[in-house]
């Protein structure tokens, strides 16, 4: 049992609150990604868990045991840093071995573990190479291998692929993915990159302003954002938010964005913002029975050649993604359709409202 539980964990730097009373549990055998923009407190939170930062308030529990006052070196955690840390002037194998010696692992066991982890990470051939000769990607692999070989109860990763060159990023990501599939420990991974988070996480803890906004599996986060921030942050480009663009009366939502009113099931009276993802907006060159005419203000090319359209209706600007071919034909006009089931509603605080929309 080595769940990591944090209770009311806070950290202030002077007047700046980096982490504000965060409580949550990171489950054993789960990869939890702390995702958020720079400055949201994710790294500080991780550093408090490992003990490199002293919390202003709150507790850190590992397997139910309070370690808040325990020194970092005694917490039996492993951590991979953003900057690839290797122990200089020695071989890869020796790098992996050093912490094992410190942990008083027997010689035979050391060799076994090193071979095992080198195999998983595909660095068996490098074991006798001096680490100074490796590039950043190689060094980071060594750092990952070193921490994995220690078999700590908790493994932490602080943006481990940020300082790796573009071409090696993918390979390292793959290596991490395969490592994560092998490990049954508690893994906490910090990143600001949604792609990394979506690809590696079992659970994503989305952070903003020193707080965890939402903790959920990637697809839940994407399909059921808890607030506008989550809707915007996950998605490329982020969700469109249309403020004051609709009226709900007696369970019926009418909006210039919709050709016909739709029914709303749920307590949607407070809703003031309508959210829709650009990839969920249907757009065509020709009008059809349930489309609405909009102006195309700009078009560019996006992922996979798709056309990213910037559209306008009633003074509301928003984006839609359509396929390359039809996008090219939409030069100044387009006809859009918003599927009711893909519409989200948010209240004035930006919190999501649980409601179901469906066509008449």
């Amino acid at each position: 049992m080595s769940d990591v539980e944090i209770i009311g964990l806070s950290k202030d730097f002077g007047s700046f609150v980096a982490v504000e009373s965060v409580s949550t549990i990171f489950r054993e055998g789960t990869v939890t990604v702390l995702l958020g923009p720079s400055g949201c407190g994710k790294t500080t939170l991780m550093r408090m868990i490992v003990g490199l930062e002293k919390p202003t308030a709150g507790q850190v529990l590992i397997g139910g045991e309070d370690v808040t006052r325990v020194a970092t070196s005694k917490r039996r955690m492993g951590m991979v840093f953003q900057y690839p840390v290797v122990y200089r002037g020695t071989s890869v194998a020796r790098n992996l071995e050093l912490p094992l010696i410190a942990d008083k692992v027997s010689k035979g066991e050391r060799k076994k573990r090193i071979d095992e982890v080198a195999e998983i990470l595909g660095i068996t051939d490098l074991l006798q190479v001096n680490v100074d000769k490796l590039d950043n990607a190689g060094r980071q692999k060594v750092a990952v291998a070193r921490e994995v070989a220690r078999k700590p109860e908790v493994l932490l990763f602080d943006e481990p692929i940020t300082n790796v060159d573009l071409t090696s990023k993918l390979e390292l990501k793959r290596a991490l993915k395969s490592v994560f599939q092998e490990l049954r420990q508690t893994i906490i991974y910090v990143t600001h990159d949604q792609t990394e988070a979506m690809s590696l996480a079992d659970d994503i803890a989305l952070m903003n302003d020193g707080k965890i906004v939402q903790l959920a599996p990637p697809h839940v986060l994407y399909h059921e954002p808890a607030d506008v921030f989550a809707g915007w942050f996950l998605g490329n480009p982020g969700m469109n938010f249309l403020r004051d663009s609709f009226v709900i009366e007696q369970g019926v939502l009418t909006s210039p964005f919709l050709s016909a009113p739709v029914r709303v099931f749920g307590d949607a009276g407070r809703a003031v913002v309508l959210g829709i993802r650009p990839e969920h907006i249907g757009a065509s060159v020709e009008p059809n029975s349930n489309s609405v005419e909009v102006a195309v203000t700009s078009r560019s090319i996006s992922i996979g050649g798709q056309a990213l359209l910037e559209l306008e209706l009633d003074g509301h600007g928003f984006k839609a993604v359509v396929d390359h071919g039809s996008g090219k034909k939409m030069t100044d006009r387009a006809w859009i359709t918003l599927p009711p089931s893909k519409i989200f509603l948010f209240d004035s605080d930006g919190r999501a409202i649980v409601a179901t929309l469906s066509g008449a």
Binding site: G14, F16, C40, E53, W232, F241, V273, F318
Partner: protein, 296 residues
């Protein structure tokens, strides 16, 4: 599209993590030992400072006196001697005057070395540094004779010119380091926007190397303040500085006048100690001619 309100946190300034721990002072065994070491190294100077408040008899007493009635007599007596204010005046004039000129001259040269890299830059920089590595005594003779010919001996002009050269190598090295640290993008931003080169040098780059100017200033002041040999040989009663005064005290009237030495010595050390307290972060830059940077 409305930007969600919550995203402003992406724009929060990064916090310097080190600062918080700076406030978190506490005693450990290491800090205790550190203080003991610091006190041991300072003890000899503290003893001289103590002696400055003793009478001759107390200084020469056997066994040495640790507890005594302090007296300011040594200082009052010292400053009644009209030569003493003159020594101080000379020290200040020579050091401040020459260092200011040296820094002005060096800043221009350092800018040229850093930005235009004229042919021979490395060689000139090397020569400059090597002049500071030659034992001072080696140059005393030619200077002695040259200053005789130029009628520079025992004149402020002569000594200031000498000390400018004495301060230039160090200043060029340190300022070049600091100017190298200012991205050329700044110069270019100025030029692209229509600014002249002079504007770039004095309005764009100069304000950004203030720490370098301070470091160069403080350290050259210390070096000139401490310089003895050339002041002794090239100067005279009109232009001698405190080190020479200390030296001559040694040979006044047979025996050393220890009250005078300790009072003058104390008055002379005090500004140095204050300088390194306030400019500690430049200490490393200073002591290594600007070739190593960092804080302690």
């Amino acid at each position: 599209m409305t930007t969600p309100d919550g995203t402003s946190s992406a724009d929060l300034p990064s916090v310097r993590l080190g600062e918080a721990s700076q406030r978190d002072r506490r005693w450990t065994l290491a800090s205790l030992f550190s203080w003991v070491v610091a006190l041991i190294f300072f003890a000899p100077i503290a003893w001289i400072a103590m002696s400055a408040f003793k009478t001759t008899g107390q200084i020469l007493s056997v066994p040495p006196l640790f507890i005594f009635q302090p007296t300011l007599e040594n200082f009052t007596e010292m400053f009644q001697d009209p030569k003493i204010p003159k020594f101080f005046f000379n020290s200040v004039l020579l050091s401040v005057g020459s260092v200011l000129i040296a820094i002005a001259v060096s800043f221009l040269a350092a800018y040229s070395f850093s930005r235009f890299k004229p042919p021979g830059t490395d060689f000139l920089m090397f020569l400059l540094l090597s002049t500071r590595f030659v034992p001072a005594a080696a140059f005393v003779i030619p200077f002695f004779q040259l200053f005789g010919i130029l009628n520079f001996r025992n004149t402020y002009v002569g000594l200031i010119i000498f000390y400018v050269m004495f301060s230039v190598p160090f200043s060029v090295w340190i300022l070049k380091g600091f100017i190298d640290g200012v991205s050329q993008r700044f110069d270019e931003t100025g030029l692209v926007n229509g600014a002249s080169r002079a504007h770039v040098i004095f309005r764009v780059v100069l304000p950004q190397v203030k720490p370098g100017l301070v470091a160069a200033f403080v350290f050259n002041i210390i070096f000139v303040w401490n310089e003895f040999l050339f002041n002794f040989q090239l100067g005279g009663t009109d232009t001698n500085s405190i080190p020479v005064a200390l030296f001559t005290a040694l040979y006044q009237g047979g025996a050393v006048n220890w009250t005078y030495v300790s009072a003058l010595g104390t008055a002379y050390v005090l500004p140095l100690a204050v300088l390194i307290y306030f400019f500690q972060k430049y200490l490393l830059v200073g002591m290594t001619f600007g070739t190593v940077r960092g804080e302690v």
